[in-house]
């Protein structure tokens, strides 16, 4: 079980920002997911537009209802 190349910088970032140390080997191992997550976010760059905001979700829930629901 090898560490991701991202493991050390991510662990350092978590320690600096939150004061939390990696609790176990599984935690280090789990950081390998970040390579895939960052790659996925790269593919989505450009989709966020200037007016997007979190409150748009509640508005969309109401807008997407069935007419009779």
């Amino acid at each position: 079980m090898a560490d991701s190349r991202l493991a050390l910088p991510l662990m350092d970032s978590i320690r600096r920002w939150q004061g939390i140390a990696a609790p176990n080997a599984a935690a280090r191992h789990g950081l390998k997911d970040f390579e895939g997550l960052i790659a996925a976010l790269e593919k989505l760059r450009g989709e966020l537009v200037f007016e997007d905001e979190p409150a748009s979700f509640e508005a969309a829930l109401a807008a997407c209802k069935e007419p009779e629901a």
Partner: protein, 470 residues
């Protein structure tokens, strides 16, 4: 009726039998306690049994009915709930060592509503620690065990709720669903599980995990049970400003079995990647049932799912990591290894990525509804792409290399938490190893009545939900 015969009743059948005077609340409770004594050890579902309080409540229900009081919609029905629904003065462990002695000062709105409807609360149920795994592993209370095969996962995080309803000990139990935690144990234990629309059922007095994606809902025997449970528990609550003010439709009243003309979208991207052959066979058989009932089934390939799947994990991981920060600093060793490992990584996601995920949620919901529900009434997928795994092959505490199998379990359920759509999992057969298969159905926001009408129609034509493990 014998205890085993009473145990065959669904939640609504038991409530209706009580209302007619065919059974007493005391006899329903006796049946539950008898089944618990006989089969409880096979599933390890119970954290706390409130036998004496339940007997007092059942006697009061019987006395009230004799006196001519009109019974509530759930009167006389024994239930137990995931141990994260707070009841003032009672310990709520949240499946953890950290909260082993936590006594809340408030009672959850949803428990108050169930009490008002006459349900008999018999105690609390095992769950994944802090509701954070899809398998049902619990290092502190022992794993809940699948009633169909104890070596296999119950699903999580509402593991005890799935196991105890599957074992026919109670007819209904509260679960919670942030990434599949109602639907996964429902599918793996062969019961019906409803995740309502985001904001539909208030979360006051409920342990938080991810405030943007947490949902309250039932695991029960049938779609009719889920409809009545929702009718009792849904609706705005002043204590939860995020709860929706949308009027609550009477879901149960619309269950007539008629789905002629229904348009079903099978989302073939994402949900079917690398699917197990026996899972696919069961899904195709379920679609044939819907077609036989007069539904039209077509394949769609929503392009929005890649973004939905990417963002959904970000939201729940960041929010979960944030609320656990102080315990992770001070008491990391009190979490199971797999849980502290999951929480830990959420701290590394930048705030901009988190806000991007939240900001894209509304536009992606609109896009998914256009792509998958524009010409269709219902989306159908398998609840899991894989067979029900064993507890050993998904145990990260024993072997971190099980991480991928563990994380992949909720692949088909997580997107609907991000989208906020109402979603139900219903029993849809068994794999060739004898473990249950789940059919997942989703509808537009607040269309639980339509969703449950389809699930009910399916259950009128099949008997998978009537099969019992012992």
């Amino acid at each position: 009726m014998s205890p085993d015969a009473l145990a065959e009743l669904s939640m609504t059948e038991a409530a209706d039998a009580f209302a007619r005077g065919d059974v007493t609340a005391a006899s329903l409770l006796d049946a539950t306690l008898h089944r618990l004594e006989r089969h409880g050890g096979k599933v390890n579902a119970v954290v706390r049994l409130d036998r004496d309080e339940a007997r007092v409540a059942a006697a009061a229900a019987d006395q009230a009915r004799k006196a001519g009081a009109r019974p509530g919609k759930l009167a006389g029905v024994p239930m137990m709930h995931k141990d994260m629904y707070y009841r003032a003065g009672k310990v709520s462990t949240c499946g953890s060592r950290i909260r082993r002695d936590f006594v809340p000062a408030v009672t959850a709105t949803v428990l108050q509503r169930l009490d008002a409807a006459g349900a008999i609360d018999c105690g609390t149920l095992n769950m994944a620690e802090f509701a954070q795994n899809p398998t049902g592993h619990n290092a502190h209370f022992g794993d809940a065990m699948n009633p169909w095969n104890a070596a296999h996962c119950t699903g999580g995080s509402s593991s005890g709720s799935g196991a105890i309803v599957g074992a026919r000990i109670v007819t209904a139990a509260l679960g919670s669903d942030t990434g599949g935690s109602i639907r996964l144990p429902a599918a793996m234990c062969g019961v019906t599980g409803l995740k309502p629309t985001q904001t539909r059922v208030p979360r006051t007095g409920v342990m938080p995990l991810s405030f943007s994606a947490d949902n309250v809902g039932p695991l029960c025997r049938t779609a009719r049970d889920a409809a009545r449970f929702l009718d009792v528990t849904a609706g705005a609550c002043p204590g939860d400003p995020t709860s929706s003010k949308e009027p609550v439709a009477a879901s149960e009243a619309g269950l007539d079995g008629d789905i002629r003309g229904l348009r079903v979208a099978v989302c073939q991207s994402w949900f079917f990647d690398d699917i197990d052959a026996s899972v696919l066979k069961g899904f195709e058989a379920a679609m044939a049932v819907l077609k036989g009932l007069g539904a039209a089934v077509e394949v769609v390939k929503p392009g929005s799912l890649f973004a939905v799947a990417t963002y959904t994990g970000i939201v729940s991981r960041v929010e979960g990591a944030t609320i656990h920060q102080q315990w992770m600093r001070e008491r990391a060793g009190d979490y199971a290894a797999h849980l502290s490992a999951r929480i830990y990584g959420g701290n590394a996601i930048p705030a901009t990525a988190y806000l991007e995920a939240l900001s894209r949620r509304g536009p992606l919901l609109r896009r998914f509804c256009d792509e998958a529900l524009g010409r269709f009434d219902i989306v159908a997928t398998p609840t899991l792409r894989d067979r029900v795994p064993t507890r050993a092959e998904t145990d990260i505490d024993a072997d971190p290399d099980n991480w991928d199998r563990f994380m992949d379990l909720s692949r088909n359920t997580r997107p609907f938490n991000y989208l906020g759509l109402p979603t139900v999992s219903i029993p849809a057969g068994f794999d060739d190893g004898g473990l249950p298969l789940g059919l997942q159905l989703a509808a537009r926001p607040f269309a639980e009545a339509r969703l449950l009408k389809v699930a009910d129609a399916f259950q009128r034509e099949t008997d998978w939900h009537r099969r019992t493990p012992f």
